[in-house]
Structures are given as structure tokens and as C-alpha cells.
Symmetry: C2
Subunit: 466 residues, 2 copies
């Protein structure tokens, strides 16, 4: 590919490039934990590493990097001398190889932006995890990972059959909007779009700014209001912290039944309850409820693949309510409103809708604007993303846990992302390290909130309900 | 410290900031290997990690980062929220924990520039090294590590006494030009110097460029000539590769005596011989001899500490000579000339001398210039830097090997750096990965060259000499 053939990006993909800074790298991650097969040979992991390393010729788009140009339009270009050592890496954890050591390494890996001159993905094999396990951490730039998680990329490795030895890593599988030739169509699609989007964002930023200065003019659409300012909405630095929590789905299902609700309601209750407790410890709980931004992936009928478009809906976590039952009831109500809003989302003409719906978020990332406008929400919580329904395997190793690690934007220091895999819900918290130095506590408090709710509904011994 | 108190840097320090790019990060490194004490407790390394991590309040200048300003003058500013987790890290090697796994990790760590918003140093504790050993890798920006290596910083941890438990990490020790208050004087010293230097470099770059276009005008001082163009003088990318080799000093001393030379001569012979063999394998040996740039540290009497000034002298490695004895004789001659030149180096008024002497090197880093002017030398070889004479220890662990990893500049893809520690010479090769994919071979060939030379001088059985 010569210079004339540089590939212009779809505008919503290019936006992730425009918004990327040292403080807010725009990659998503997946953390997967596997059990080493019971009868694995001594050099099982070394052999797996060598096998993955041998796929050193990535196909489009995994062989692309950012192209530097005189203008601000984001483009890709092919890398001439691809070096697999930059993209596949083999680590080991210091002893004892517990969650703490794993958390440190993955937090570190998730904090560093992908190299400006390298292909926009990395995969890390991590040995030395206690109880005869290992981990894989995958990192993909948001501009490549269309859709809201990178989970499907990791899944391309895995199969239902523990005896399957030949796996095809994602970077050997072409991934284009139409899954076929793609490259040319990708170029022609919205060739001026990125510039238009950049202009719109600047305009929206200016409008947001004006709305704050002159509240009478404020469009309620741009600034829906009612989101309290919280410590979660400060400027963040580039360091991330990761915390995880795994729940058996049966526990949540039993509670949902007892509370006449559904699993999603219980999950949101656990998030809200843990955040309430966490911020009360720091005397930092706002008097109004914390608002979660819930990303909803939109499909554009012009494209065959998933689009990179997300609408950010708002969900009250009712953290201002002290009584557990009252809080759970209120969450059920908030979730019902959210479901109605999702129902009403347009499924045609996504791009114009998403522009208007997402631009306040993009606009709030502009340096001056973000410090002045009220936050649109306090944190992000993804809905439950469906992972594999049954056990899957990587060269005989059973997948035990699967977490989705997210992008953070300025003024929004926490993202909670949930994947359902088999009978488990896998909750990952991606936090800004400077804002949330004790992030793991939120995960721990989610577990406690579940225990307490079970007691409340007398589902375990020691229930408090009379 | 408020904005008015930003600290302007000495011009020669600031130069390292000006020259830093993604492809040529300007940090130096130290790699040290230790033997775990024979009766160490189970959690010895974990405890060491916790101990080091506990020093989370660095003193000046270890609490400084680059300050972004509207002009191009490099300044430091204090970091408000220092995070030790960004600067101390604990790794483990994948099994089997050999030189290959260590090399991969350290090469990777040495490839990544220090974060633009972080303090300009990192220290890495590496466990899982075979034969009951561990390693420490230290990384310091060239602008902070005055003098040509970071070895003294590491040494501040170590002591003669294996029973010494309390160590004071370097980032708790103030390091200023006058070792006392320093901060203010540092500010006043050459307040306009960095700008002047930047202007001079641009001017020299232009002169170099003109000299090439019009050879009659060429000043022999700026372009000494006779350096062949080699594969070592291409543009390099940011990836580094590290290789190491340790020699017992007795072997070199015996050879020096037999060849009526000195240890330095033998070392340079080993470098030249290994490079000759390496480049012959690739059919890439220039017909004229490869020229090594030998950095010589200059002391400025205005300052009490070591200055950051280096003169780059030129040494012919006589790689064009096929006969080993002839090559060794020629090296002895080259080394004699080098010694005379070092004798004649000025020890007063260093700054003006260094400016004129080093500016061709700086100038050749400018984007257009470097591609056009002939190289000033093909690679860098440091003289032998003196390390500790006797065994030193880190919390009971004996230091076994000590390597100095260097900066690479554009158009100079290899640096060989040597430290003497006790009875060993520790040779480290820092190479550009894209230019020297088989760097380890050069280290191996140095060992072979030593074996062959011993045979030539009949110092071992099987000597070939009649």
C-alpha cells in the first residue's frame, strides 16, 4: 500500500482517535482466566506462547497503524515491518500469583496507550496465576473494536471442544464492515465524515459552554441535568486500576424471583449499594442519586457489521436512598424507564441520531468545556453482555472467568462492565487510579451487598427479615 | 511549588529533552543480577518489593517531571501526586527464567520512553531468574543521570556488608549540582542556555548540510570523514534489543601481558573481531574500518557534580584487517592515539568545547540532515567504567553481574558499554531491534574471539601457534 492508498476511517471510528490523549487512551481490554488442563505437559504455556508468536503476519485491519498526515483526519496505513514481539507478550506473575499480583500487572497494561507507530492491538499471556491457572489480557483500540467490547475477538480463539489444538488468532482473521473485501468500501464511506464530526464536536462544545453561562438558553437535551457533581467527575490521569468480581447467576436469579424483578435489576442494585457504601466511607456521597451512563450499541442498517455507535442512556442508581428495600424498588423503577427508552431507540438512520445523542459526551471532553459543564453522568455501567453459554476452551484450558475492561473519559472515573459466561456474571471495574485508589473495595462491597440482600429475603440462614 | 518556580534546566541537560523522540528515547539503564541469599526466607523478594515500595516520597530531583510550556525551553516541575506504583514495579519471568526470558523483558522495558507526565525514572525488580537469582533493572532519563551511566544510582542501594538490611533507595537521596540546596542555583545557571543551544544546533545542522552539498567548503572538524556508511547508520525505530557477556578479568589480563598491551586494547579487539564476523555473515562489512565513537565524560570546574557533557572521540576498530595479529596490533595503535587525544582534552571551559565537539552529533539528529551527512561514527563503545572493586550486596543478595544499557541516537544503531566489577568485565550491547535482529550473536562472537585469541597466544591447550 502506497501513500495514495491510505485508508480514511469511518467518522465514528475516527472520533476515538480525535479524543485520545495521554490521560484517556482509547483502548478496550479483555481479561480471561483459564485452568491449565489437568494432564498438560510441562512446557504447556511455553508451547502456547511459541504457537501464538508464530502467527506473525496479521491481516487487515490488524496490520494497520495511525497515519500521520498534515491534516487532522484520522487515517490508517499498513505497517511495513510488523514485529510480533511488540504485540504478543509473555509475562509471569511474582509469587504468590494471586489476584493482587494479577491486578497490578493488568492495571499497568491497561494504563499504557497503544504505540503511535504500532498496530492497534496487543495480546498478553500471563503465567504464574495460583491454583494452576493462567490469564490472557487482550487490548484493542476502540477504533478497531467496533461494538462495545473486545470479547468477540478473544472468543475467536476459543472453542467448545477441549481437544481442539489448532486455534486461529484474531489477527489472522480479516475484520471489515462487510466481512468480505471491505477495504475499498471502507475508504469511500463518508470520506469527509471525520472532518464534519470534528467540526460538530467543537460546535457542541461551544453550545455546552454557552448553556452553562446562560442557563435560560440551556437545551435540556444537551444538559439533561440532575446529575450531581461527585469525585467521579474530576479530571483523571492516565493510570487505571482494575477490580473484578464473579457471581453465580443462580444467586441473582433466586433474588430476582424473591424481589419480583430481574437479574439486571439486582445487578444494578449491587452496583448502587456498593457505591453508596464506598462514598459514604469517604464522606463523598452526593445528596442526589449517582447517575450511571448506560451505553447502548446501535446498529446501522447501512452496514453489515456492528457499528461503532453508542447512545449513552441515563440510569439513576438511587444511591440517595438509605433503606435497602426502598432502594431496590426505586432501581426497579429506573430500570423500567431505561428499558422503555431502549425500546424507543431508532434502528434506522443511526448516524444522525448518534451524533446528536453522543456529541454532548464528546463535547465534554474538550479541555475547557469539561471543567465547566455539569457531568452528564457519574460513571458508566454496561448492560450484561452475553458471552458463551457453555464452557469454552483454549487448547484444552477451560475458560473460568471473562472480564471486559473499558475506556475511561475525562470527568468520568469509573466504568463497570459485565459479561455473562455460562452460569456466571463477571463484573469488571475500570477506574482512574488517582480518583479511586481503593477501587477493589467497590468490588468487595458488591459481594457484601449480595450477601445482605440474601439475608433480607431470608434466602440464607441468619436472614434479618422478620 | 507554583508555576513561577518551574525549574529551567542546564542547557546540556535540556538537550536530551530536545533530542528525545518516540524512536530515540533518551534514558539510560542498568541491569544487575543478584544471587538470593542462601538462607533467605520464603518471601524474601516479596518483602524486598514491599520495602522498596514503601519509599513513596521521592526527593528532588526524583520528584520532577517535564513541564509543558508555550516555548521550547525544557523545564522541570514537581509532581503533585506521586504514585510509587508507576516507578517501582515487580515482575516475574516466564519459565524457565533463562537469559532469553530476561532479555525479552529488559529489551521491552528499555524500548519504552519514560512517561511525559511522570517522574523521569523507574526501577524494576525481576524474580524468577534461574539458579536462585533475581534481577534489578533501573531506568533513568539522561537529563537526570548526569555523567554517562546510571550505575552510581544503583550503587547507592548496595553495600559491602551482606548483613546490611536497611538500604536507602536513590530516590530518597537529593542529587543536585552542588549536593546542598541546589534548586535555586540550578534555576539561575544559564537561564537562556537551552534556547542558545537549540539555535546553535539548528545552525550546525545547516552547516553540516551545506558541507555535504559543497564538499570544498567542508570543515574537516565538522565532518572528520573516513567513517564508512554501514547498516549501523540507518534510521532506527524505537525497539531495542539487549545482549550481555561477562568476562573474567584474569583472562584478559593474561592476554594483555602476552600481547604487550592492556586490558582495554584486548576489549576493543574483541569488539572489532565480533563485529567483523557478524557483518561478514550478512555480507555487510564495509571495506574501510568501522569507527567507534568513544564518549569521554568532561568535568566542568564550575560545577561540583559530574557534568552532563560528553566529547565523542573516534576510534578505528580495524575491522578491515583479516589477520588477527595484524588487527590486534592496529587496535593497539588506535588506542594509543585515543589516549593521547583524551590527555589533550580541556578540563576547563568545558561548555564551549563540548558545544563545538558535540554539536555535529546533535545536528545529525535533525530529520533532514541525518539522512544526508555521512555518519560521524558507526557505533558507540564506552570505555571501561569502574564499578565496585569488591563484592557488594542488596539485603544479603550478592551482586553477580552489572550491565550498563545506553541511549541510541538516530543513524547509530549499536552501543557497547562495559563495567568492571570485582574480577569481571560486564559487557552490554544496546541495539536497535530493526537494524540488529540477531544482536546476541555479537556478544557470543566476542566470547569466541577471546577463545581464539587465547589459542593464538598458546594460553590454552590446543593453541594454534607453532
Amino acid at each position: 500500500m502506497n501513500r495514495q492508498q491510505k485508508i480514511q476511517m469511518a467518522p465514528l471510528d475516527a472520533m476515538w482517535r480525535v479524543m485520545e490523549t495521554h490521560e484517556t487512551p482509547m483502548h478496550v481490554g479483555v481479561l480471561a482466566q483459564f485452568k491449565i488442563p489437568p494432564r498438560a505437559a510441562e512446557g504447556y504455556l511455553e508451547e502456547l506462547a511459541e504457537y501464538l508468536r508464530s502467527f506473525n503476519r496479521p491481516v487487515y485491519p490488524w496490520n494497520q497503524r495511525w497515519s500521520a498526515g498534515p491534516d487532522f483526519v484520522a487515517r490508517f496505513e499498513k505497517i511495513r515491518d510488523f514485529d510480533i514481539e511488540e504485540h504478543f507478550r509473555h509475562h509471569a506473575l511474582p509469587k504468590p500469583g494471586g489476584e493482587r499480583q494479577l491486578g497490578r500487572l493488568v492495571s499497568r497494561l491497561h494504563s499504557i496507550a497503544l504505540g503511535p507507530n504500532s498496530a492497534l492491538w496487543e495480546i498478553h499471556l500471563i503465567e504464574g496465576l495460583e491454583a494452576h491457572r493462567f490469564a490472557v489480557y487482550l487490548k484493542v483500540h476502540r477504533a478497531l473494536a467496533r461494538g462495545i467490547t473486545a470479547v468477540p475477538l478473544l472468543m475467536s480463539f476459543l472453542g467448545d471442544n477441549p481437544r481442539k489444538r489448532k486455534i486461529k488468532p484474531f489477527w489472522t482473521i480479516a475484520h471489515t464492515p462487510d466481512q468480505a473485501s471491505g477495504e475499498e468500501e471502507y475508504v469511500s464511506w463518508h470520506s469527509q465524515g471525520a472532518n464534519d464530526l470534528l467540526r460538530s464536536t467543537t460546535r457542541i462544545g461551544r453550545d455546552l459552554f454557552r448553556s452553562v453561562q446562560n442557563p435560560r438558553e440551556a437545551a435540556s437535551f444537551l444538559l439533561p441535568g440532575k446529575t450531581p457533581r461527585s469525585t467521579l467527575n474530576r479530571k483523571i490521569n492516565h493510570q487505571r486500576r482494575i477490580a473484578t468480581q464473579q457471581f453465580g447467576i443462580q444467586r441473582l436469579a433466586r433474588l430476582a424471583e424473591a424481589a419480583d424483578s430481574c437479574i439486571e435489576d439486582i445487578l444494578m442494585y449491587l452496583c448502587g449499594t456498593a457505591l453508596r457504601r464506598f462514598f459514604m466511607e469517604y464522606n463523598a456521597l452526593p445528596t442526589e442519586s449517582l447517575i450511571a451512563g448506560v451505553p447502548v450499541e446501535l446498529h446501522d442498517e447501512d452496514e453489515l457489521g456492528p457499528s461503532n455507535a453508542i447512545a449513552g442512556l441515563r440510569l439513576s442508581l438511587n444511591t440517595h436512598l438509605g433503606d435497602p428495600e426502598e432502594r431496590l424498588d426505586a432501581i426497579k423503577g429506573s430500570m423500567q424507564s431505561l428499558r422503555e427508552e431502549v425500546e424507543n431507540l431508532p434502528h434506522h438512520a443511526v448516524a444522525p441520531y448518534t451524533f446528536t445523542r453522543s456529541l454532548p459526551i464528546y463535547g465534554s471532553q474538550l479541555p475547557v468545556v469539561g471543567n465547566l459543564v455539569p457531568p452528564l453522568f457519574n460513571l458508566s455501567i454496561s448492560g450484561i453482555v452475553a458471552g458463551p453459554k457453555h464452557a469454552v476452551f483454549l487448547r484444552g484450558a477451560r475458560l473460568e472467568a471473562l472480564y471486559s475492561l473499558n475506556v475511561l473519559m475525562q470527568h468520568s472515573a469509573l466504568s463497570i462492565d459485565v459479561i455473562r459466561y455460562g452460569d456466571t456474571l463477571n463484573v469488571a471495574l475500570t477506574g482512574a487510579r488517582d480518583t479511586l485508589p481503593r477501587l477493589q473495595r467497590i468490588a468487595v462491597y458488591m459481594g457484601r451487598a449480595l450477601d445482605d440482600l440474601e439475608k433480607l429475603y431470608a434466602l440464607v440462614d441468619g436472614g434479618l427479615r422478620e
